[in-house]
């Protein structure tokens, strides 16, 4: 092989870059998060919509809620099962899920999501 030194340096950079998740993963890998339901949420058993939908798409619902409440003043949400909810992050969502650090933040931190809810809303105070 010609220019052996340079080629090998290049290949080492390539391998390290593309296997960096593996190298990193072998040294460090946190367990998946365990979001904890508050007693009140546990008791209610059902969120606004089905659990799978909430896990996957709650952000889209929140976005829709925000648009409708702020822009059109629509403050009632009728869930698929016919039940009505007041459209409010602080008074509806956070009423049940009153443990932000143990619930919301668990998955958000895990998958590197930085929601901008709390740029407008007041972050709920938690009892320690």
């Amino acid at each position: 092989m010609y220019n052996k030194g340079k080629i090998i340096i290049g290949l080492v950079i390539f391998v390290v870059f593309f296997t960096s998740p593996f190298l990193y993963g072998l040294v460090k890998s946190g367990p998946p998060p365990e979001p904890e339901l508050s007693p009140k949420a546990k008791e209610a058993k059902l969120c606004v919509e089905a659990k799978d939908y909430m896990v996957e798409s709650h952000m889209q619902m929140l976005n829709q809620w925000r648009d409708e409440a702020i822009r059109y003043g629509k403050r009632m949400y009728v869930a698929t099962n016919g039940k009505e909810y007041v459209v409010s992050l602080q008074n509806t969502c956070m009423d049940c899920h009153n443990n932000k650090t143990k619930f919301c933040d668990q998955c958000h931190n895990y998958s590197g999501v930085d929601p901008y809810c709390w740029e407008c809303h007041i972050e709920p105070k938690e009892k320690k």
Binding site: K4, F14, L26, G30, P32, L62, D114
Partner: protein
């Protein structure tokens, strides 16, 4: 011809995991195929580069995009025709980071007369830059799923990429740019007759594959949502060599992962290898210093020579006899 073969090949690649990634099939599409693909990618890439490294370059190949270094009163173009290693690094950096050779792309037209005219054509350069950098940003943003804890640069990248704060999950500009640029690069091949003539399945297939890959990613992010926490659990399981398949991940994720696996497994055997090849191209990585340093052809065998001095030594007496002049008495 090639366009339809590639199109249906990619359609098939979308359908296979849509049907197969159910139940136990998830172990094949979520664990086995990604591992095999990564191995093929890394080993294949190294193999190709080593093969190129073994190929001798018989003479210096400096592309003369500019005036070479010669007499002091002739203006030298040190970046396009470098004579030093530093200049070569500069030319290579411009090529790799700014696609300088695409910048030189021209359009040939027959005007009335008929008269051939050459015009500047920067669209390919613009689209290629947009495509490659968007792809890089999208790839780096994926590190939030590869690494736990999430590395710091991802948050920074996302806040810049999604600064318009459209919708939730936030619209990332790079994803849209990637898809649009890939679509442009495809349409360009179809719309321009000369380009269509020189395009084969090997040109269309990677484009369709990347369009499908980006499309499935955008769909998954904005429309057919999957549980991202389970997805990350799967990915971190893969990279820490403790693979698991968490329950309840939507099939669109397996389509996305399979398309990626096919892309990286196909990478070393395709035109996509220009990623490594650009560093190995003699027209980019050799300095034009022919007149300062002699380039020895690596496949030169030792040539048997008979110098004049030796010749004279051999025939000196005879030369003297017939009266020929000799250098040494």
């Amino acid at each position: 011809m090639g366009i339809w073969v590639s199109f249906f090949a990619v359609i098939a690649l979308v359908l296979i995991p849509s049907v197969g990634a159910q139940g136990a099939g998830q172990y094949i599409f979520g664990i086995f195929i990604p591992y095999v693909a990564v191995l093929i990618f890394v080993i294949g890439f190294i193999y190709r580069v080593v093969q190129w490294g073994k190929t001798p370059v018989p003479f210096k190949i400096p592309t003369t995009g500019g005036q070479m270094k010669s007499l002091p009163w002739i203006k030298w173009n040190p970046l396009d025709n470098p004579a030093t290693t530093g200049g070569v690094v500069g030319r290579m950096a411009l090529e790799v980071l700014a696609f300088r050779s695409l910048f030189r792309n021209t359009r040939v037209e027959l005007r009335d007369g008929p008269r051939v005219s050459y015009g500047s054509n920067k669209w390919l350069w613009v689209a290629a830059l947009a495509f490659h950098y968007a792809f890089l940003v999208v790839f780096l943003r994926h590190f939030r799923l590869f690494m736990e804890p999430v590395p710091g640069f991802v948050g920074l990248l996302e806040s810049v990429d999604g600064f318009m704060e459209v919708g939730l999950p936030r619209l990332m500009i790079s994803g849209v740019v990637l898809l649009l640029a890939a679509l442009y690069l495809f349409l360009r091949r179809v719309a321009v007759p000369q380009l269509r003539y020189i395009s084969f399945a090997a040109d269309y297939f990677p484009l369709f594959l990347i369009i499908a890959l980006a499309g499935s990613g955008l769909l998954m992010r904005y429309f057919i949502r999957v549980d991202i926490t389970s997805v990350k659990e799967l990915i971190t399981g893969l990279v820490s060599l403790r693979p698991t398949i968490p329950e309840g991940i939507g099939v669109i994720f397996f389509v996305h992962l399979f398309l990626l696996s096919v892309l990286i497994a196909y990478f070393p055997f395709s035109k996509l290898m220009h990623a490594g090849g650009v560093f190995m191209s003699p027209t980019r990585n050799m300095a034009n210093d022919n007149r300062q340093n002699r380039h020895i052809n690596p496949w030169n065998y030792p040539v048997k020579v008979h110098t004049y001095a030796e010749y004279e030594d051999e025939f000196r007496e005879k030369m003297k006899e017939v009266g020929l002049p000799v250098e040494k008495e």
